[in-house]
């Protein structure tokens, strides 16, 4: 009797995992689907398999729009994650390391950007920019992403710091290291895995963001998720599968690196 229920549970769990990964697998598969020529244009199906081909990737490779969007998303992601890493790390460190009033208030302040619906954050920032006449573009997207990415890095680093052993720092100081040397040589290496994991998470969250970028963009700046979204709106095609696959590969690689770092430490 017990065995049967265990087997049922196992099958059920396998089905749920399949549900999580099958759509992604199908999306990737059909990015390699061969197209047909119709009315002088190459079109392709995302549901009927014709044969293996790399034509959609070749097409992407020649598409200047995709390259621009990819460059924009990368620039935004890199700057956002650097800003978030610095702000998130020093504040998490300060909160654990020093006595301060109003700590709880600060925790709440760093929690709210993660839990509040993103669209309300996005539209409020748009109003802020409009009200103060700030020119919309790359910079305004970066600021928009940083407000929630700082909170992500802060949360990840703080979780890592909660079991952080301060006696190592004290040992370095008592052995004659200056506070700055201690921070660089002792504290930072101890923090590094958490900071890296948080930074990678910040990058992927920025790189994959559609809503905040759409609300805070201007002067024709378009990011990769925005490009994919506008293409989906004008009809599905294996070409979208190919761009989507590229974004999956990029964020998947970063997820793997993050996992590898956390496993090593």
């Amino acid at each position: 009797m017990k065995k049967v229920s265990d087997i049922v549970l196992k099958i059920y769990v396998s089905l749920v995992y399949m549900m999580l990964y099958l759509p992604i697998a199908i999306l990737v598969l059909f990015s390699f689907n061969e197209g047909i020529t119709m009315g002088g244009r190459r079109i392709g199906s995302t549901v009927l398999w014709k044969g293996f081909s790399l034509e959609w990737y070749e097409r992407l490779f020649r598409n200047q729009e995709i390259w621009t969007a990819l460059t924009n998303s990368t620039i935004i992601g890199v700057i956002t994650s650097i800003v978030s890493a610095v702000l998130g790390t020093i504040s998490a460190y300060a909160l654990i390391r020093y006595e301060m009033k109003g700590k709880n208030l600060f925790y709440i302040m760093m929690l709210v950007p993660i839990i509040i619906p993103e669209i309300t954050e996005a539209l409020s920032l748009l109003l802020f920019y409009v009200l103060f006449n700030i020119k919309l573009g790359l910079n305004t997207i970066i600021i928009g992403h940083a407000t929630f990415c700082v909170a992500y890095v802060f949360t990840v680093v703080r979780a890592r710091l909660s079991d952080y052993d301060r006696s190592l720092e004290e040992a370095a100081l008592s052995l004659g290291a200056t506070p700055f040397q201690t921070f660089i040589k002792v504290t930072l290496p101890l923090l590094a895995p958490g900071v890296l994991a948080g930074t990678l998470l910040a990058f992927t969250q920025s790189f994959d963001d559609l809503i905040k970028a759409s609300f805070t963009t201007g002067s024709g700046v378009i990011t990769l998720p925005m490009l994919i979204f506008s293409k989906i709106k004008s009809g599905v095609s294996p070409e979208i599968n190919a761009v989507a696959t590229i974004t999956l590969v990029i964020s998947g690689t970063l997820a793997f690196i993050s996992y590898w770092i956390s496993k090593r430490s």
């Binding site: 992604i24 999306l27 839990i115 998947g252």
Partner: protein
């Protein structure tokens, strides 16, 4: 001695504040102040030319409470609640399995739950379209299995929206429940069973109450993003299943009626806060009672 001590302490404090001030100011200026601006805008006037004047009016809130918007608000709450429930029903056994039955493969199973969270949200939501479209994979499977007649319409229904939510937010439900299942001492269960409780009885009297904190955290983590969701109803629901997020998008980016959009988004924020508080109050009681 004591003088030295105090100056040292103050210096340490100052150092802490000094390190925290940049982050504090950043979030204050670009996160808190904009929210206050939304609040102010929601009470402002817009004339027929689209010009905004800051004169106090409640008109935007009255406009939000018209039948059309009220229906959207109710629809949003319904879909979010249904999605949360679906995530709970589908996710609980998974968390239970990972925490209890799969000791040796726990790490890899948890990692497989986390990975989708790292992958592009747009790509994941897009991937559902090929499954649900009229000639999509699901209908192909149904035809293959021998179902004939009209192909069922899966896309642009409430269940495709709920499926999209479950597909994207399931990790948010599984992880906290898994965390509380893992903390559970299996000896409690053994004790219950050796005292004569059936496995089903033991589950409802021991396992479920002890994992309620995880259920509670998971439900909040799924409900909040679902209420504010834009992309899933946009791609899988269509205009008929538009939620508050879709209307905010149109009001802000197409119509440019900032006062009306601000009022609607204040309503959204209040709903999220109110329902979370009610949920905490109700569930906090439940959790207390169960111990």
């Amino acid at each position: 001695m004591s003088n030295d001590f105090w100056s040292k302490l103050n210096l340490r404090r100052l150092k802490g504040y000094f390190l925290i001030v940049p982050t504090f100011l950043f979030e204050l200026i670009f996160f808190i102040v904009p929210l206050i601006i939304v609040f102010v805008y929601s009470f402002s006037k817009v004339d027929s030319f689209g010009r905004i004047t800051f004169e106090f009016t409640l008109q935007n809130y009255f406009n939000v409470l018209t039948p059309e918007f009220s229906r959207t608000i109710l629809r949003t709450l319904g879909i979010a609640a249904l999605s949360t429930l679906a995530c709970l029903i589908i996710g609980y056994p998974v968390a239970y399995y990972i925490g209890f039955k799969a000791k040796s493969r726990q790490n890899i199973l948890v990692m497989l739950i986390i990975i989708p969270f790292w992958l592009s949200f747009v790509a994941r939501t897009y991937s559902i379209i090929s499954i649900f479209s009229t000639n999509g994979i699901l209908n192909q499977i149904l035809t293959f299995l021998g179902f004939v007649g009209d192909k069922p319409q899966w896309l642009y229904t409430w269940y495709s929206v709920v499926f999209g939510m479950v597909y994207n937010y399931l990790p948010m439900m599984v992880l906290p429940i898994y965390a509380s299942v893992e903390k559970l001492n299996p000896q409690y269960l053994e004790a219950a069973q050796s005292l004569g409780a059936s496995p089903i009885n033991a589950f409802f009297k021991v396992t479920l109450p002890l994992t309620l904190p995880g259920v509670f955290a998971g439900s909040i983590l799924v409900f909040i993003p679902s209420v504010g969701e834009f992309l899933i109803p946009e791609l899988l629901g269509g205009i008929e299943w538009y939620m508050i997020g879709n209307h905010l998008w149109i009001i802000f980016l197409t119509m440019g009626n900032y006062p009306l959009g601000s009022a609607l988004s204040i309503v959204l924020i209040l709903l999220v806060i109110l329902i979370t508080l009610l949920y905490i109050k109700y569930f906090a009681k439940e959790v207390e009672l169960s111990f």
